[in-house]
Symmetry: C2
Subunit: 478 residues, 2 copies
Amino acid sequence: MTQQKAGTGRFPPSSPDHQETETDMKSYDVIIIGGGPSGIITGLTAIKQNKTASMLMIKEEAKGLVPCGIPYVFHDLDDIAQNAMGPKPFVDAGGEVLVDTVTEVDVTGKTLRTETGTEFTYGKLVFATGSVPTVPTFIKGYDLDGVEYIKKSYSYIEQLKKKADALHDIVIIGGGFIGAEVAEQFARHTDKRVTLVEAEPHCLYRAFSADFAALADEALTGASVNVVTGTKVVEILGDGGSVTGVKLSNGKTVKAELVISAIGYRPCTDLAAKAGLTINRHGAIQVDNYLRTTAKDVFAVGDCAATTGFITGRTDNIMLASTATAEARVLGCNLTTIRLLRNFAGTLSVFSTEINNKAFASAGAIEQSAREADVDYVIGSFEDVDRHPGTLPGAQKLKVKLIVSPGNGAIIGGEIYGGKSAGEMINTVSLAIQKSVTVYELISFQIGTHPLLTTAPTKYALIKAAENAINEIQARNA
Amino acid sequence: MTQQKAGTGRFPPSSPDHQETETDMKSYDVIIIGGGPSGIITGLTAIKQNKTASMLMIKEEAKGLVPCGIPYVFHDLDDIAQNAMGPKPFVDAGGEVLVDTVTEVDVTGKTLRTETGTEFTYGKLVFATGSVPTVPTFIKGYDLDGVEYIKKSYSYIEQLKKKADALHDIVIIGGGFIGAEVAEQFARHTDKRVTLVEAEPHCLYRAFSADFAALADEALTGASVNVVTGTKVVEILGDGGSVTGVKLSNGKTVKAELVISAIGYRPCTDLAAKAGLTINRHGAIQVDNYLRTTAKDVFAVGDCAATTGFITGRTDNIMLASTATAEARVLGCNLTTIRLLRNFAGTLSVFSTEINNKAFASAGAIEQSAREADVDYVIGSFEDVDRHPGTLPGAQKLKVKLIVSPGNGAIIGGEIYGGKSAGEMINTVSLAIQKSVTVYELISFQIGTHPLLTTAPTKYALIKAAENAINEIQARNA
């Protein structure tokens, strides 16, 4: 198909008509390694911008998964197939897909080789190799049978789901988003006893300040998860090579037939490192503001690429599909030449989840991250319900916290706890942060409100929180 | 109580200590006429900014109603008392309230008089007199018994609810927000037959372009409302002085024991006009960007005050509690001196509602209003579901339309149809319009997404709509 779409010559050195070269090498204007969200969106955007360019995506598994949908495979979704995600839109747009593993990249010769021995030359190369779960090698027993992970692999998760169906005692290590969501989903099965162990004082503590994170503990407990915070797993116990339980830093042991380690992910960058690309202290591929690596015509995007913190301008290690796809859109537009200036500098973490029918969302700085980064801040909080009058059926408590720079009043972070609408409300906060909206502006921000959909116009939560932040700033200056 | 809070002298001519003057006149630094959302928020904000100022609110009824909650009194709320709204926050902050009607204002002498004969002098005077339903004097039979309105009056609505409870055949004239919402609520009573008559091609046609407005018709029909669009009521029929039906422009008649006219509201400005304030062609009190009327130290805010359209800069007649309270916050801060610059120029209409469990929301320009105002635009649309994967329980269709200025790509309007989260999603669009965010920026906008709360990160609806708008612009320029 793409043989008719000859290289345009805008991607040097493109071989004409993608015919095999003397050395049997296939040639593409663009090759993308990885078929997750960032790979797909980069390819799709790039193909729209360069309709005549030839593009190949090389991915390891034929079937993919919606990454953030994985926890719901364990209960809410009837079938793992409902969470499948593939490169169909990319193929429909004219891209080609090869299921294979890239084993070697020569960034000088602009060639790569796969496990099956195929060789390719590329005009532009994109690393979209994603991330893999961190293995807790520092915990004794981490290599026992029955210690599993939330890998972004269709076949792996399919097996894990089958295996878990028959088991009753499950321990999850790590109360971040993935750990908390997986725990909640398993706990919805009445035949399972689920324990979640988190070393920090609260679950979701990297995304929420203490009072909001405490509500996450509460929501998990409400969903019948045995939540153990401020506690570490010191050993995974086994018998005959198989997991039997975990030993905690508080001296207790918890029975387990299955232990899921959800302590984080690390960028997949072994291939990139081998190719000589610069890797940063988080293990991510170093990129500039336009996702360009240290090698010419080589880009990296998504979980495998470095990110720069929005507030601090420092290297960060944010791994989110939403961030990855935002970057991928920029990269897709700019692959041949920088057509789309990046107006929003730096990467925001924008998180959201729902635990036991309570939504939790945050964007940008939180109290802990601001303190760690030595960023001065004031807090503006407000609490209400998400309907008006609050007597309407379905009204849920809504809590909003804004983190504000006291100098100019700019909003640098926000946290929301409430009903489902918190998931969209955080995007207003996210836009406010990205556009440097100040609390002085926000208090006259014109909003839409409706009894059945939002808080009251007289006390719209974001505006009231902004007002309270102004009071804080005034009190400081008084 | 406020006798101890002497005037600060910042509100000339304030009489000291609010004691009665020789002429028996009571004196206040600030008097607010009206106790709806804009009156309450102006008072509350002003009192926070001027803790020593004396403030009086004069309102006609002791009890007030949450204006946008009124339709829900007819079904979803058990009791009208659940929709009560009073000036308690203002009183708690130190304000005084008088239930009375102002009959005369002398803006030269800075005095006013009430129905009960009390006289006051003021330092600053705020008109927050709201709006009243437009009476369809142009329809024969408008004055029959059984022709009612959605007045923002506690006692009136209480009576109307009682009356409607016993009736079965109801015709509503006007399919704007109030008409549509009231129709949907009455239709939830299985013993009622509800007909909604709208002269425009669709209901909600002032807030949505044709394809979205058609979905509103569909939602109303789904809620068992007999929707008759593109049709006028030419006569209200009666027998013995009481309503029996309506005659339509299509020749048909519809039986009615109760006719509710919901054809719009007009600003309450008779008192202001009598006082010599300039009234504009919409019947609203003329104000500048800081809500100052043509008389010194006299302000107007909310439905009774003129608004300037955000896109066109022309006089507009937007009457929304959300707009009113945004203005009221600005006014409250700036009553003594302009402390808070208005960063967002002009007034946006931001609408939202829910009909038969479908949310409809819009902000800024729509296709019709852009055309009428001779504003060039392109459309960027996208349709999806509001969960990902879409197989998750509770997933609802989501449609987004952005109205974009092709020149610089600025977002000037947006419409959203979907589940409840559309009510907050529109506020992201509203902020984007107010901050002149372009579609070029929006496509790299960093958002939070979650399977249970939003569309997928790979195709977040606002971003995809922005992308499609860019395609439209490029196609034009090609």
